[in-house]
């Protein structure tokens, strides 16, 4: 075992980690936003809207993430090509980002929905009684309280997503894991680099998980 070669490879590994974090951050923001819209649709009294959201959630929770990633990478450009008639390249990064957002939205939707439902009907009534419309009641009164309650769950889900971002190797994106693998192959030390990558994933995920638990305890009192 020779871990010394990891030091000179650091710049490449850092770039990989930055790619991972960028993908994670954008996917969480987009996924939570889309998930919130889906949750509102799902709670809507319109059966068409709630039916659509329900079907969306069930569909994306029933297929593997890897499939969604490759599907977006291969099928979406083809589809765009077919619609627009010209070749459009959306790139590995964008297609991965869209795949993560849409996939994670299904999970965030269920978290947000439970969060909204945990806020009493009385709060909604009070908002309406003061003359707020649906949008104001949601934005100013219900969602801020719901997000506070569900923050631990949203963070846990995002930690899972942090690990799942490594699936982008399938379409050749240079995230942290892919960078570690290719650097390791180049210097002929694949095992050392993979062990190092594993340690980094573990430390970040476990550390984040512990802080979420601590946060949860502090908010609970």
């Amino acid at each position: 075992m020779d871990f010394s070669q990891i030091i000179p490879a650091m710049p490449g590994l850092v770039d990989g980690m930055l790619m991972t974090l960028k993908l994670l951050a954008l996917s969480v923001v987009g996924g939570v936003a889309l998930g919130t819209v889906l949750a509102l649709l799902r709670l809507s009294s319109n059966p068409l809207l709630s039916g659509f959201a329900k079907a969306y959630v069930n569909y994306f929770r029933s297929i593997p993430l890897l499939l969604v990633i490759t599907w977006f990478y291969l099928a979406v450009p083809m589809l765009l090509n077919w619609i627009t008639g010209s070749f459009v390249s959306i790139g590995a990064f964008t297609s991965c980002l869209v795949a993560f957002m849409m996939f994670e939205a299904a999970y965030y939707c269920e978290i947000v929905r439970a969060g909204i439902q945990s806020i009493s009907k009385g709060q909604e009534n009070a908002a309406y009684a003061l003359g707020m419309n649906y949008g104001q009641a949601m934005r100013l009164i219900i969602l801020p309280q719901a997000f506070r309650k569900m923050m631990p769950l949203l963070l846990q889900q995002s930690i899972i997503l942090f690990q799942d971002t490594s699936l982008v190797y399938a379409v050749g994106l240079m995230d942290f894991l892919n960078a570690a693998r290719s650097k390791g192959d180049i210097v002929g030390l694949p095992h050392e680099f993979l062990i190092f990558a594993g340690a980094v994933y573990f430390v970040i995920s476990f550390g984040a998980s512990l802080s979420v638990k601590r946060l949860q305890k502090r908010f609970a009192v």
Binding site: G122, Q123, N125, A126, A127, A129, L130, G131, Q136, R148
Partner: protein, 246 residues
């Protein structure tokens, strides 16, 4: 002049009829107390007035505006009618001042300064100016309910609806809330109050409505309601004897 006019209102939850042909009228400056056994539809009736509960039959006119009309701007109508709830329903994530100002700013479009000035004025009136910077969770139940009343008043309502405002309070806090309500009534606020506080009814109500199983069984002047018990319906007498015992 009639401020709230409820005309033959009926409401169903599926097959279950919650309100049956309810008709009554609240004039400007009038204080009407609504009482009746649990489950008789008091909350439902009062919530139909500001359209928090839809109804299937009849109509309600609030200051000339029909609540049942599909074309009515309900948020606008609600912004003109204050409501106070059994469980206060202050917004726990907002400070007391934000609770007082948020709807003034977002719904009525008042400036920050104007909303703050108005909010603090009413907070002072309910005797809680010192608590302006706190959060609802830091106040007692009675204090929270007084803030809730101030929050409704800051919208300059044309009428106030109360749904059992004191029944979730510890006994020693009931009076601080009732005192605020009595003062309001004496200043001529139009009020519709679901409450079992008969002392309050005796003191300031003009009329008392008694409901049972979704129907308005009694609707008469306070003097008649309390003074001529023998003329009351069997159900009303039973109810009164139960709550007036202690």
């Amino acid at each position: 002049m009639s401020m709230i006019s409820i005309k033959n209102v009926s409401k169903w939850y599926g097959d279950f009829q919650v309100l049956t042909d309810c008709t009554t009228d609240v004039k400007k400056g009038e204080v009407v107390v609504v009482c009746g056994p649990s489950g008789s539809g008091k909350s439902t009736l009062i919530k139909t007035v500001n359209a928090l509960e839809p109804f299937q039959k009849g109509d309600i006119i609030v200051d000339g505006t029909s609540v049942g009309d599909a074309k009515t701007d309900l948020p606008k109508l609600r912004s003109r009618v204050g409501m106070v709830f059994q469980h206060f329903e202050l917004f726990p994530h907002l400070s007391i001042t934000e609770n007082l100002t948020i709807a003034q700013e977002r719904v009525l479009g008042r400036s920050k300064d104007e909303a703050m000035q108005k909010g603090l004025h009413y907070l002072d009136r309910v005797g809680l100016k010192a608590h302006a910077h706190k959060f609802p969770g830091q106040l007692s139940g009675g204090q929270q309910q007084r803030v809730a009343i101030a929050r409704a008043l800051a919208m300059d309502p044309i009428a106030m609806l109360f749904d059992e405002p004191t029944s979730a309070l510890d006994p020693e806090m009931v009076n601080e809330v009732l005192d605020v309500m009595v003062e309001l009534a004496q200043e001529g606020m139009t009020m519709m109050c679901v409450t079992h506080e008969m002392g309050f009814a005796r003191k300031v109500a003009h009329r008392v409505i008694f409901m049972d199983r979704g129907c308005i069984v009694e609707d008469c002047a306070k003097e008649e309601f309390f003074g001529n018990i023998d003329a009351r319906s069997e159900r009303a007498r039973q109810f009164l004897s139960k709550i007036l015992q202690h």
